[in-house]
Protein backbone atom coordinates (compact mmCIF):
# COMPACT_ATOMS: atom_id res chain seq x y z
CA UNK A 1 0.00 0.00 0.00
CA UNK A 2 1.16 3.51 -0.83
CA UNK A 3 -0.36 6.33 1.18
CA UNK A 4 -0.06 10.04 0.34
CA UNK A 5 -0.70 12.13 3.43
CA UNK A 6 -1.32 15.83 2.61
CA UNK A 7 1.58 15.83 0.17
CA UNK A 8 2.45 19.14 -1.48
CA UNK A 9 5.15 20.17 -3.88
CA UNK A 10 5.83 23.88 -4.27
CA UNK A 11 8.70 25.27 -6.31
CA UNK A 12 10.75 28.30 -5.24
CA UNK A 13 9.12 30.41 -7.98
CA UNK A 14 5.76 29.85 -6.32
CA UNK A 15 4.38 27.23 -8.70
CA UNK A 16 2.30 24.65 -6.90
CA UNK A 17 2.73 21.31 -8.66
CA UNK A 18 0.87 19.18 -6.13
CA UNK A 19 -1.48 20.58 -3.53
CA UNK A 20 -2.33 18.68 -0.33
CA UNK A 21 -2.71 15.34 -2.03
CA UNK A 22 -4.08 12.52 0.10
CA UNK A 23 -4.56 9.24 -1.75
CA UNK A 24 -4.20 5.58 -0.91
CA UNK A 25 -3.00 3.15 -3.57
CA UNK A 26 -4.10 -0.22 -2.19
CA UNK A 27 -1.82 -3.26 -2.32
CA UNK A 28 -2.15 -5.49 -5.35
CA UNK A 29 -4.18 -2.96 -7.30
CA UNK A 30 -3.63 -0.52 -10.15
CA UNK A 31 -4.17 3.10 -9.19
CA UNK A 32 -4.15 5.46 -12.17
CA UNK A 33 -3.33 9.17 -11.90
CA UNK A 34 -4.91 10.92 -14.83
CA UNK A 35 -5.34 14.57 -15.79
CA UNK A 36 -4.35 17.26 -18.26
CA UNK A 37 -0.70 18.30 -18.52
CA UNK A 38 0.37 20.42 -15.58
CA UNK A 39 -1.94 18.64 -13.13
CA UNK A 40 0.97 17.25 -11.13
CA UNK A 41 0.38 13.58 -11.89
CA UNK A 42 3.98 12.81 -12.86
CA UNK A 43 5.30 14.91 -9.97
CA UNK A 44 3.12 12.88 -7.61
CA UNK A 45 4.46 9.64 -9.06
CA UNK A 46 8.07 10.76 -8.77
CA UNK A 47 7.65 11.77 -5.17
CA UNK A 48 6.96 8.12 -4.34
CA UNK A 49 10.52 7.04 -5.21
CA UNK A 50 11.88 10.44 -4.23
CA UNK A 51 13.06 11.46 -7.68
CA UNK A 52 11.32 14.61 -6.46
CA UNK A 53 11.20 15.46 -2.76
CA UNK A 54 7.86 16.71 -1.40
CA UNK A 55 7.79 20.18 0.15
CA UNK A 56 5.44 18.99 2.86
CA UNK A 57 3.49 15.90 3.83
CA UNK A 58 4.50 12.26 3.94
CA UNK A 59 4.36 9.30 1.63
CA UNK A 60 4.10 5.94 3.31
CA UNK A 61 5.07 2.60 1.86
CA UNK A 62 3.01 0.16 3.89
CA UNK A 63 3.80 1.49 7.37
CA UNK A 64 7.18 3.06 6.58
CA UNK A 65 7.79 6.71 5.78
CA UNK A 66 9.66 6.86 2.45
CA UNK A 67 11.74 9.77 3.82
CA UNK A 68 13.32 7.27 6.24
CA UNK A 69 15.09 5.29 3.51
CA UNK A 70 18.21 6.23 1.61
CA UNK A 71 16.98 7.26 -1.84
CA UNK A 72 18.96 4.61 -3.71
CA UNK A 73 17.83 1.85 -1.37
CA UNK A 74 14.20 2.93 -1.68
CA UNK A 75 14.40 3.01 -5.49
CA UNK A 76 15.88 -0.46 -5.81
CA UNK A 77 12.73 -1.77 -4.17
CA UNK A 78 10.40 0.04 -6.58
CA UNK A 79 10.03 -0.86 -10.25
CA UNK A 80 9.95 2.12 -12.60
CA UNK A 81 8.81 2.24 -16.22
CA UNK A 82 8.87 5.41 -18.32
CA UNK A 83 7.55 6.59 -21.65
CA UNK A 84 10.39 5.74 -24.00
CA UNK A 85 11.51 2.84 -21.80
CA UNK A 86 14.83 4.62 -21.10
CA UNK A 87 16.80 1.47 -21.80
CA UNK A 88 20.58 1.65 -21.52
CA UNK A 89 21.72 1.78 -25.17
CA UNK A 90 25.14 0.34 -24.36
CA UNK A 91 23.85 -2.82 -22.73
CA UNK A 92 22.19 -5.85 -24.27
CA UNK A 93 18.53 -6.50 -23.59
CA UNK A 94 19.47 -9.22 -21.13
CA UNK A 95 21.88 -6.99 -19.20
CA UNK A 96 19.34 -4.17 -19.15
CA UNK A 97 16.86 -6.46 -17.46
CA UNK A 98 19.51 -7.75 -15.04
CA UNK A 99 20.40 -4.22 -13.87
CA UNK A 100 18.63 -4.07 -10.52
CA UNK A 101 19.44 -7.62 -9.41
CA UNK A 102 23.10 -6.82 -10.11
CA UNK A 103 22.83 -3.57 -8.15
CA UNK A 104 21.38 -5.57 -5.28
CA UNK A 105 24.47 -7.77 -5.32
CA UNK A 106 23.15 -10.85 -7.09
CA UNK A 107 25.63 -12.96 -9.04
CA UNK A 108 25.90 -12.32 -12.75
CA UNK A 109 24.76 -15.75 -13.82
CA UNK A 110 21.79 -15.74 -11.48
CA UNK A 111 20.77 -12.24 -12.57
CA UNK A 112 20.95 -13.20 -16.24
CA UNK A 113 18.94 -16.35 -15.71
CA UNK A 114 16.31 -14.23 -14.00
CA UNK A 115 16.42 -11.79 -16.93
CA UNK A 116 15.75 -14.58 -19.43
CA UNK A 117 12.81 -15.74 -17.37
CA UNK A 118 11.36 -12.22 -17.36
CA UNK A 119 11.80 -11.71 -21.09
CA UNK A 120 9.65 -14.75 -21.61
CA UNK A 121 7.15 -13.42 -19.10
CA UNK A 122 6.66 -10.18 -21.03
CA UNK A 123 6.32 -12.06 -24.30
CA UNK A 124 9.74 -11.50 -25.86
CA UNK A 125 11.54 -14.25 -27.70
CA UNK A 126 14.88 -15.39 -26.24
CA UNK A 127 16.59 -14.39 -29.48
CA UNK A 128 16.27 -10.73 -28.40
CA UNK A 129 18.35 -11.28 -25.25
CA UNK A 130 21.72 -10.58 -26.90
CA UNK A 131 20.53 -7.62 -28.96
CA UNK A 132 20.93 -3.97 -28.14
CA UNK A 133 17.93 -1.69 -27.53
CA UNK A 134 18.48 0.14 -30.84
CA UNK A 135 17.70 -3.11 -32.63
CA UNK A 136 14.21 -3.34 -31.12
CA UNK A 137 10.93 -1.70 -32.10
CA UNK A 138 9.31 0.78 -29.73
CA UNK A 139 6.83 -1.82 -28.49
CA UNK A 140 9.58 -4.38 -27.89
CA UNK A 141 11.67 -1.80 -26.02
CA UNK A 142 8.73 -1.05 -23.79
CA UNK A 143 8.34 -4.75 -22.99
CA UNK A 144 12.01 -4.84 -22.02
CA UNK A 145 11.35 -1.76 -19.86
CA UNK A 146 8.60 -3.62 -18.03
CA UNK A 147 10.79 -6.71 -17.64
CA UNK A 148 13.60 -4.55 -16.25
CA UNK A 149 11.26 -2.97 -13.71
CA UNK A 150 10.07 -6.42 -12.62
CA UNK A 151 13.52 -7.97 -12.38
CA UNK A 152 14.05 -7.64 -8.63
CA UNK A 153 10.42 -8.61 -8.01
CA UNK A 154 9.55 -5.31 -6.32
CA UNK A 155 6.14 -5.20 -4.63
CA UNK A 156 5.56 -1.69 -5.99
CA UNK A 157 5.71 -0.49 -9.60
CA UNK A 158 5.57 3.07 -10.86
CA UNK A 159 4.65 3.58 -14.49
CA UNK A 160 4.87 6.99 -16.15
CA UNK A 161 2.95 7.02 -19.45
CA UNK A 162 4.60 3.73 -20.42
CA UNK A 163 2.41 3.09 -23.47
CA UNK A 164 2.01 6.62 -24.84
CA UNK A 165 4.82 6.58 -27.36
CA UNK A 166 3.75 3.54 -29.39
CA UNK A 167 1.14 3.24 -32.12
CA UNK A 168 -2.48 2.39 -31.17
CA UNK A 169 -2.36 -1.27 -32.19
CA UNK A 170 0.84 -1.94 -30.24
CA UNK A 171 -0.53 0.08 -27.32
CA UNK A 172 -3.60 -2.11 -27.20
CA UNK A 173 -1.44 -5.25 -27.18
CA UNK A 174 0.79 -3.86 -24.44
CA UNK A 175 -2.22 -2.90 -22.33
CA UNK A 176 -3.77 -6.37 -22.64
CA UNK A 177 -0.41 -7.96 -21.86
CA UNK A 178 0.01 -5.65 -18.89
CA UNK A 179 -3.38 -6.61 -17.45
CA UNK A 180 -2.61 -10.30 -17.95
CA UNK A 181 0.75 -9.86 -16.20
CA UNK A 182 -0.82 -7.95 -13.33
CA UNK A 183 -3.37 -10.78 -13.02
CA UNK A 184 -0.45 -13.15 -12.40
CA UNK A 185 1.73 -10.89 -10.27
CA UNK A 186 -0.64 -8.69 -8.25
CA UNK A 187 1.75 -5.77 -7.83
CA UNK A 188 0.85 -2.48 -6.19
CA UNK A 189 0.94 -0.21 -9.21
CA UNK A 190 0.71 3.53 -9.63
CA UNK A 191 0.19 4.39 -13.29
CA UNK A 192 0.27 7.86 -14.79
CA UNK A 193 -1.44 8.72 -18.08
CA UNK A 194 -3.12 11.68 -19.78
CA UNK A 195 -5.43 9.32 -21.65
CA UNK A 196 -8.72 8.84 -19.85
CA UNK A 197 -9.58 5.76 -21.93
CA UNK A 198 -6.36 4.11 -20.82
CA UNK A 199 -7.06 5.13 -17.22
CA UNK A 200 -10.54 3.64 -17.30
CA UNK A 201 -9.33 0.49 -19.00
CA UNK A 202 -6.40 -0.28 -16.72
CA UNK A 203 -7.27 1.20 -13.36
CA UNK A 204 -8.81 -0.56 -10.41
CA UNK A 205 -9.26 2.97 -9.20
CA UNK A 206 -8.65 6.26 -10.98
CA UNK A 207 -7.49 9.52 -9.42
CA UNK A 208 -8.46 12.44 -11.65
CA UNK A 209 -6.27 15.48 -11.02
CA UNK A 210 -6.80 19.05 -12.12
CA UNK A 211 -4.26 21.76 -12.96
CA UNK A 212 -2.70 23.07 -9.76
CA UNK A 213 -2.14 19.57 -8.40
CA UNK A 214 -5.49 19.02 -6.74
CA UNK A 215 -7.31 15.73 -6.60
CA UNK A 216 -10.66 16.12 -8.36
CA UNK A 217 -12.05 12.62 -7.86
CA UNK A 218 -10.85 9.21 -6.74
CA UNK A 219 -13.14 6.39 -7.80
CA UNK A 220 -13.32 3.05 -9.55
CA UNK A 221 -13.61 3.57 -13.33
CA UNK A 222 -17.30 2.64 -13.58
CA UNK A 223 -18.20 5.17 -10.93
CA UNK A 224 -16.10 7.82 -12.63
CA UNK A 225 -18.13 7.35 -15.80
CA UNK A 226 -21.54 7.14 -14.15
CA UNK A 227 -21.06 9.67 -11.38
CA UNK A 228 -18.42 12.31 -12.14
CA UNK A 229 -17.88 14.46 -9.05
CA UNK A 230 -18.01 17.83 -10.79
CA UNK A 231 -18.07 19.63 -14.12
CA UNK A 232 -14.28 19.32 -14.55
CA UNK A 233 -14.33 15.54 -14.15
CA UNK A 234 -17.41 15.24 -16.36
CA UNK A 235 -15.68 17.28 -19.05
CA UNK A 236 -12.44 15.38 -18.73
CA UNK A 237 -14.09 11.98 -18.78
CA UNK A 238 -15.70 13.15 -22.00
CA UNK A 239 -18.40 12.02 -24.41
CA UNK A 240 -20.05 8.64 -24.66
CA UNK A 241 -19.76 8.15 -20.90
CA UNK A 242 -23.03 6.24 -20.75
CA UNK A 243 -21.95 3.90 -23.50
CA UNK A 244 -18.42 3.48 -22.16
CA UNK A 245 -19.70 2.70 -18.68
CA UNK A 246 -21.35 -0.39 -20.16
CA UNK A 247 -17.86 -1.86 -20.45
CA UNK A 248 -17.98 -2.39 -16.68
CA UNK A 249 -21.38 -4.12 -16.70
CA UNK A 250 -21.01 -7.87 -17.15
CA UNK A 251 -23.43 -9.12 -19.79
CA UNK A 252 -24.31 -12.06 -17.63
CA UNK A 253 -27.25 -14.09 -18.92
CA UNK A 254 -27.68 -12.92 -22.49
CA UNK A 255 -30.92 -14.29 -23.94
CA UNK A 256 -29.33 -15.85 -27.03
CA UNK A 257 -31.18 -17.44 -29.94
CA UNK A 258 -29.95 -20.36 -31.94
CA UNK A 259 -28.46 -19.11 -35.16
CA UNK A 260 -28.59 -21.19 -38.31
CA UNK A 261 -25.10 -21.55 -39.74
CA UNK A 262 -23.26 -22.63 -42.83
CA UNK A 263 -19.83 -24.22 -42.61
CA UNK A 264 -17.15 -22.55 -44.69
CA UNK A 265 -16.69 -24.40 -47.97
CA UNK A 266 -20.13 -26.07 -48.04
CA UNK A 267 -23.10 -25.20 -50.24
CA UNK A 268 -25.18 -22.11 -49.56
CA UNK A 269 -28.93 -22.19 -49.28
CA UNK A 270 -30.94 -18.99 -49.13
CA UNK A 271 -31.77 -17.71 -45.67
CA UNK A 272 -35.17 -16.15 -44.87
CA UNK A 273 -33.79 -12.62 -44.31
CA UNK A 274 -30.88 -13.03 -46.71
CA UNK A 275 -28.12 -13.21 -44.03
CA UNK A 276 -26.61 -16.42 -42.80
CA UNK A 277 -23.74 -16.85 -40.36
CA UNK A 278 -20.71 -18.72 -41.64
CA UNK A 279 -18.59 -20.74 -39.20
CA UNK A 280 -15.52 -22.92 -39.56
CA UNK A 281 -15.38 -26.59 -38.61
CA UNK A 282 -14.66 -25.59 -34.99
CA UNK A 283 -17.95 -23.61 -34.97
CA UNK A 284 -16.00 -20.38 -34.69
CA UNK A 285 -17.86 -17.57 -36.53
CA UNK A 286 -16.07 -16.30 -39.65
CA UNK A 287 -18.51 -13.70 -40.96
CA UNK A 288 -21.94 -13.15 -42.47
CA UNK A 289 -23.02 -14.18 -45.95
CA UNK A 290 -25.52 -12.15 -47.96
CA UNK A 291 -27.35 -15.08 -49.64
CA UNK A 292 -29.60 -12.79 -51.68
CA UNK A 293 -26.60 -11.39 -53.53
CA UNK A 294 -24.37 -14.46 -53.61
CA UNK A 295 -24.36 -16.89 -56.53
CA UNK A 296 -25.13 -20.49 -55.57
CA UNK A 297 -22.13 -22.70 -54.85
CA UNK A 298 -19.61 -23.23 -52.09
CA UNK A 299 -18.99 -20.47 -49.51
CA UNK A 300 -15.53 -18.91 -49.79
CA UNK A 301 -13.66 -16.53 -47.49
CA UNK A 302 -13.83 -13.69 -50.00
CA UNK A 303 -17.64 -13.63 -49.96
CA UNK A 304 -17.92 -12.96 -46.24
CA UNK A 305 -19.07 -9.70 -44.67
CA UNK A 306 -16.84 -9.07 -41.67
CA UNK A 307 -18.43 -5.96 -40.21
CA UNK A 308 -19.84 -7.64 -37.12
CA UNK A 309 -17.90 -7.73 -33.84
CA UNK A 310 -18.12 -10.70 -31.49
CA UNK A 311 -19.43 -10.62 -27.93
CA UNK A 312 -18.26 -13.12 -25.36
CA UNK A 313 -20.88 -14.50 -23.01
CA UNK A 314 -18.57 -13.68 -20.09
CA UNK A 315 -17.90 -10.19 -21.50
CA UNK A 316 -19.50 -6.80 -20.98
CA UNK A 317 -22.80 -5.27 -22.04
CA UNK A 318 -20.81 -2.84 -24.15
CA UNK A 319 -19.38 -5.68 -26.22
CA UNK A 320 -22.82 -7.29 -26.53
CA UNK A 321 -24.45 -4.05 -27.68
CA UNK A 322 -21.61 -3.39 -30.09
CA UNK A 323 -21.92 -6.88 -31.56
CA UNK A 324 -25.64 -6.34 -32.20
CA UNK A 325 -25.17 -2.82 -33.60
CA UNK A 326 -22.33 -3.78 -35.91
CA UNK A 327 -23.87 -6.95 -37.31
CA UNK A 328 -25.19 -6.57 -40.86
CA UNK A 329 -28.06 -8.91 -40.03
CA UNK A 330 -28.95 -6.99 -36.87
CA UNK A 331 -28.20 -10.10 -34.81
CA UNK A 332 -25.12 -9.85 -32.59
CA UNK A 333 -22.99 -12.97 -32.46
CA UNK A 334 -22.18 -14.36 -28.99
CA UNK A 335 -19.36 -16.84 -28.47
CA UNK A 336 -17.91 -18.75 -25.53
CA UNK A 337 -14.41 -18.20 -24.15
CA UNK A 338 -12.96 -20.55 -26.74
CA UNK A 339 -14.52 -18.47 -29.53
CA UNK A 340 -17.21 -21.04 -30.43
CA UNK A 341 -20.69 -19.90 -31.39
CA UNK A 342 -23.32 -19.85 -28.66
CA UNK A 343 -26.05 -17.95 -30.45
CA UNK A 344 -27.18 -14.47 -31.39
CA UNK A 345 -28.85 -11.56 -29.66
CA UNK A 346 -30.66 -8.50 -31.02
CA UNK A 347 -30.09 -4.85 -30.21
CA UNK A 348 -33.52 -4.63 -28.58
CA UNK A 349 -32.74 -7.54 -26.31
CA UNK A 350 -29.41 -6.05 -25.21
CA UNK A 351 -31.04 -2.67 -24.59
CA UNK A 352 -33.70 -4.37 -22.49
CA UNK A 353 -30.96 -5.98 -20.43
CA UNK A 354 -29.24 -2.58 -20.05
CA UNK A 355 -32.53 -1.05 -18.85
CA UNK A 356 -32.83 -3.86 -16.40
CA UNK A 357 -29.33 -3.28 -14.95
CA UNK A 358 -29.92 0.48 -14.80
CA UNK A 359 -33.18 0.05 -12.89
CA UNK A 360 -31.52 -2.22 -10.38
CA UNK A 361 -28.57 0.13 -9.89
CA UNK A 362 -30.89 3.15 -9.49
CA UNK A 363 -32.76 1.23 -6.82
CA UNK A 364 -29.57 0.47 -4.91
CA UNK A 365 -28.35 4.07 -5.18
CA UNK A 366 -31.66 5.73 -4.26
CA UNK A 367 -31.66 7.59 -0.93
CA UNK A 368 -33.58 4.72 0.64
CA UNK A 369 -30.87 2.28 -0.34
CA UNK A 370 -27.96 4.53 0.58
CA UNK A 371 -25.45 3.77 3.28
CA UNK A 372 -23.24 1.31 1.45
Amino acid sequence: MIRFESVSKKYPDGTVAVDELSVIAPSGQITVFVGPSGCGKTTSLRMINRMIEPTSGQIWLDDKDTAGFSAAELRRGIGYVIQHAGLFPHRTVMDNVATVPLLLGQGKREARARAMELLERVGLDAKFAKRYPAQLSGGQQQRVGVARALAADPPVMLMDEPFSAVDPVVRHDLQEEFLRLQGELGKTIVFVTHDIDEAVKLGDQVAVMRVGGKLAQLAPPAELLTAPADAFVAGFVGRDRGYRALAFEPAGALPTHDEPTVVLGSDVSAAPDGWVLVVDDQRQPQGWLDTANTPAGKVGQEQLHRGGTLATHSGSLRAALDAALSSPSGRGVVVDDAGRLIGSVTTAEVVELIEDHATKSRASQSPAGAGT
Binding site: M51, Y80, I82, G86, L103, A134, Q135
Partner: protein, 215 residues
Protein backbone atom coordinates in the same frame (compact mmCIF):
# COMPACT_ATOMS: atom_id res chain seq x y z
CA UNK B 1 67.50 10.03 -47.46
CA UNK B 2 68.10 6.34 -47.01
CA UNK B 3 71.79 6.91 -46.44
CA UNK B 4 70.98 9.57 -43.86
CA UNK B 5 68.61 7.16 -42.13
CA UNK B 6 71.22 4.36 -42.16
CA UNK B 7 73.87 6.62 -40.66
CA UNK B 8 71.62 8.04 -37.95
CA UNK B 9 69.16 5.22 -37.31
CA UNK B 10 70.12 4.74 -33.64
CA UNK B 11 69.58 8.43 -32.95
CA UNK B 12 66.35 8.60 -34.93
CA UNK B 13 64.99 5.55 -33.12
CA UNK B 14 65.66 7.07 -29.70
CA UNK B 15 64.02 10.33 -30.84
CA UNK B 16 61.01 8.38 -32.06
CA UNK B 17 60.67 6.58 -28.72
CA UNK B 18 60.82 9.79 -26.72
CA UNK B 19 58.44 11.43 -29.19
CA UNK B 20 55.93 8.64 -28.59
CA UNK B 21 56.20 9.04 -24.84
CA UNK B 22 55.98 12.82 -24.92
CA UNK B 23 52.87 12.72 -27.09
CA UNK B 24 51.06 9.76 -25.50
CA UNK B 25 51.49 10.36 -21.77
CA UNK B 26 49.90 13.86 -21.89
CA UNK B 27 46.87 12.45 -23.76
CA UNK B 28 46.25 9.98 -20.95
CA UNK B 29 46.97 12.49 -18.17
CA UNK B 30 44.91 15.15 -19.89
CA UNK B 31 41.93 12.82 -20.18
CA UNK B 32 42.18 11.90 -16.49
CA UNK B 33 42.23 15.57 -15.51
CA UNK B 34 39.55 16.65 -18.00
CA UNK B 35 37.06 14.02 -16.84
CA UNK B 36 36.22 15.57 -13.44
CA UNK B 37 36.36 19.13 -14.83
CA UNK B 38 34.08 18.21 -17.73
CA UNK B 39 31.77 16.45 -15.32
CA UNK B 40 31.56 19.59 -13.18
CA UNK B 41 30.82 21.69 -16.26
CA UNK B 42 27.99 19.37 -17.22
CA UNK B 43 26.61 18.80 -13.72
CA UNK B 44 26.47 22.48 -12.78
CA UNK B 45 25.36 24.32 -15.89
CA UNK B 46 26.48 27.71 -14.58
CA UNK B 47 30.06 26.38 -14.52
CA UNK B 48 29.92 25.29 -18.15
CA UNK B 49 30.60 28.67 -19.77
CA UNK B 50 33.48 29.74 -17.47
CA UNK B 51 35.18 26.31 -17.43
CA UNK B 52 34.97 25.81 -21.17
CA UNK B 53 36.14 29.38 -21.86
CA UNK B 54 39.11 29.10 -19.51
CA UNK B 55 40.04 25.77 -21.08
CA UNK B 56 39.76 27.34 -24.52
CA UNK B 57 42.00 30.22 -23.49
CA UNK B 58 44.69 27.80 -22.32
CA UNK B 59 44.89 26.45 -25.83
CA UNK B 60 45.76 29.88 -27.22
CA UNK B 61 49.02 30.10 -25.24
CA UNK B 62 51.84 29.58 -27.77
CA UNK B 63 53.62 26.32 -27.06
CA UNK B 64 57.09 27.92 -27.21
CA UNK B 65 56.06 30.39 -24.52
CA UNK B 66 54.80 27.58 -22.33
CA UNK B 67 58.00 25.53 -22.79
CA UNK B 68 60.03 28.54 -21.70
CA UNK B 69 57.84 29.65 -18.79
CA UNK B 70 57.14 26.25 -17.24
CA UNK B 71 60.67 25.56 -15.89
CA UNK B 72 60.35 28.72 -13.82
CA UNK B 73 56.93 27.71 -12.52
CA UNK B 74 57.75 24.05 -11.90
CA UNK B 75 61.36 24.48 -10.75
CA UNK B 76 62.53 22.06 -13.46
CA UNK B 77 65.57 22.35 -15.74
CA UNK B 78 64.96 24.04 -19.07
CA UNK B 79 65.75 20.87 -21.03
CA UNK B 80 63.74 18.57 -18.77
CA UNK B 81 61.15 16.65 -20.88
CA UNK B 82 58.71 17.06 -17.99
CA UNK B 83 58.14 20.62 -19.19
CA UNK B 84 56.96 19.30 -22.54
CA UNK B 85 54.73 16.68 -20.92
CA UNK B 86 53.13 19.27 -18.64
CA UNK B 87 52.59 21.74 -21.48
CA UNK B 88 50.95 19.12 -23.68
CA UNK B 89 48.82 17.91 -20.80
CA UNK B 90 47.52 21.46 -20.45
CA UNK B 91 46.63 21.56 -24.16
CA UNK B 92 44.92 18.18 -23.95
CA UNK B 93 42.86 19.33 -20.97
CA UNK B 94 42.01 22.49 -22.89
CA UNK B 95 40.64 20.40 -25.76
CA UNK B 96 38.90 17.76 -23.69
CA UNK B 97 36.96 19.73 -21.05
CA UNK B 98 34.31 20.76 -23.55
CA UNK B 99 34.33 17.34 -25.17
CA UNK B 100 33.77 15.51 -21.86
CA UNK B 101 31.01 17.93 -20.85
CA UNK B 102 29.27 17.60 -24.21
CA UNK B 103 29.73 13.83 -24.18
CA UNK B 104 28.05 13.52 -20.79
CA UNK B 105 25.31 15.87 -21.96
CA UNK B 106 24.71 13.57 -24.93
CA UNK B 107 23.31 10.90 -22.60
CA UNK B 108 19.54 10.91 -23.25
CA UNK B 109 17.56 12.35 -20.39
CA UNK B 110 15.25 9.37 -20.04
CA UNK B 111 18.24 7.03 -19.80
CA UNK B 112 19.79 9.08 -16.97
CA UNK B 113 16.39 9.29 -15.24
CA UNK B 114 15.89 5.55 -15.54
CA UNK B 115 19.33 4.92 -14.04
CA UNK B 116 18.53 7.12 -11.05
CA UNK B 117 15.10 5.55 -10.61
CA UNK B 118 16.63 2.09 -10.56
CA UNK B 119 18.82 3.00 -7.62
CA UNK B 120 22.18 3.99 -9.06
CA UNK B 121 24.10 6.38 -6.84
CA UNK B 122 25.46 9.47 -8.56
CA UNK B 123 29.00 8.13 -8.98
CA UNK B 124 27.81 4.64 -9.95
CA UNK B 125 25.55 6.18 -12.56
CA UNK B 126 28.45 8.19 -13.98
CA UNK B 127 30.75 5.19 -14.27
CA UNK B 128 28.26 2.51 -15.30
CA UNK B 129 25.89 4.45 -17.52
CA UNK B 130 26.92 7.97 -18.48
CA UNK B 131 30.61 7.54 -19.32
CA UNK B 132 30.10 4.42 -21.47
CA UNK B 133 27.42 6.25 -23.46
CA UNK B 134 29.69 9.31 -23.78
CA UNK B 135 32.61 7.25 -25.15
CA UNK B 136 31.98 8.01 -28.85
CA UNK B 137 31.94 11.78 -28.27
CA UNK B 138 34.95 11.74 -25.93
CA UNK B 139 36.89 9.48 -28.30
CA UNK B 140 36.34 11.93 -31.17
CA UNK B 141 37.92 14.68 -29.07
CA UNK B 142 40.71 12.39 -27.99
CA UNK B 143 41.67 11.74 -31.61
CA UNK B 144 42.09 15.46 -32.24
CA UNK B 145 44.15 15.86 -29.06
CA UNK B 146 46.41 12.90 -29.82
CA UNK B 147 47.17 14.00 -33.36
CA UNK B 148 47.78 17.62 -32.41
CA UNK B 149 50.09 16.47 -29.61
CA UNK B 150 52.29 14.62 -32.08
CA UNK B 151 52.90 17.84 -33.97
CA UNK B 152 53.25 20.00 -30.85
CA UNK B 153 55.94 17.74 -29.41
CA UNK B 154 58.10 18.49 -32.46
CA UNK B 155 58.14 22.17 -31.51
CA UNK B 156 60.01 21.29 -28.31
CA UNK B 157 63.11 20.55 -30.41
CA UNK B 158 63.64 24.30 -30.78
CA UNK B 159 64.44 24.47 -27.07
CA UNK B 160 66.62 21.39 -27.34
CA UNK B 161 64.45 18.55 -26.03
CA UNK B 162 65.43 15.47 -28.06
CA UNK B 163 62.62 14.00 -30.15
CA UNK B 164 61.70 13.82 -33.86
CA UNK B 165 61.68 17.63 -34.05
CA UNK B 166 65.47 17.39 -33.93
CA UNK B 167 65.34 16.14 -37.50
CA UNK B 168 63.78 19.44 -38.53
CA UNK B 169 66.21 21.65 -36.62
CA UNK B 170 69.15 19.61 -37.89
CA UNK B 171 67.86 19.77 -41.43
CA UNK B 172 67.37 23.54 -41.28
CA UNK B 173 70.77 24.15 -39.75
CA UNK B 174 72.50 22.11 -42.45
CA UNK B 175 70.11 23.20 -45.22
CA UNK B 176 69.83 19.49 -45.86
CA UNK B 177 66.52 18.02 -46.98
CA UNK B 178 66.53 14.26 -46.06
CA UNK B 179 66.22 14.59 -42.25
CA UNK B 180 63.24 16.95 -42.67
CA UNK B 181 61.52 14.48 -44.95
CA UNK B 182 62.19 11.60 -42.54
CA UNK B 183 60.81 13.73 -39.72
CA UNK B 184 57.61 14.51 -41.61
CA UNK B 185 57.07 10.87 -42.60
CA UNK B 186 57.62 9.61 -39.06
CA UNK B 187 55.37 12.28 -37.49
CA UNK B 188 52.54 11.54 -39.91
CA UNK B 189 52.95 7.80 -39.39
CA UNK B 190 52.95 8.25 -35.64
CA UNK B 191 49.80 10.39 -35.77
CA UNK B 192 48.09 7.73 -37.89
CA UNK B 193 49.09 5.01 -35.42
CA UNK B 194 47.71 7.00 -32.46
CA UNK B 195 44.53 7.68 -34.33
CA UNK B 196 44.10 4.04 -35.29
CA UNK B 197 44.70 2.85 -31.74
CA UNK B 198 42.02 5.22 -30.40
CA UNK B 199 39.55 4.16 -33.10
CA UNK B 200 40.15 0.48 -32.36
CA UNK B 201 39.80 0.90 -28.60
CA UNK B 202 36.60 2.89 -29.17
CA UNK B 203 35.19 0.14 -31.34
CA UNK B 204 35.98 -2.38 -28.63
CA UNK B 205 34.25 -0.27 -26.00
CA UNK B 206 31.15 0.41 -28.08
CA UNK B 207 29.88 -2.80 -29.68
CA UNK B 208 26.36 -1.37 -29.27
CA UNK B 209 26.99 1.37 -31.82
CA UNK B 210 27.49 -1.14 -34.61
CA UNK B 211 24.28 -2.93 -33.75
CA UNK B 212 21.62 -1.92 -36.24
CA UNK B 213 18.05 -2.90 -36.87
CA UNK B 214 18.05 -6.36 -38.44
CA UNK B 215 16.21 -6.25 -41.75
Amino acid sequence: MITYFKEHHAEILSWLVSHIWLAAVPVVLGLIIALPIGWLAQRYRWLYAPLVSIAGLLYTIPSIALFVVLPGLLGTKVLDPINVAVALTIYTVALLVRVVADGLASVPDDVAQAATAMGYGRFQRLVAVELPIAVPVIAAGLRVAAVSNVSLVAVAATIGVPELGQLFTNGFQLSYFPPILIGIVLCVALALVFDTVIVLVTRMLTPWRRAVQPS
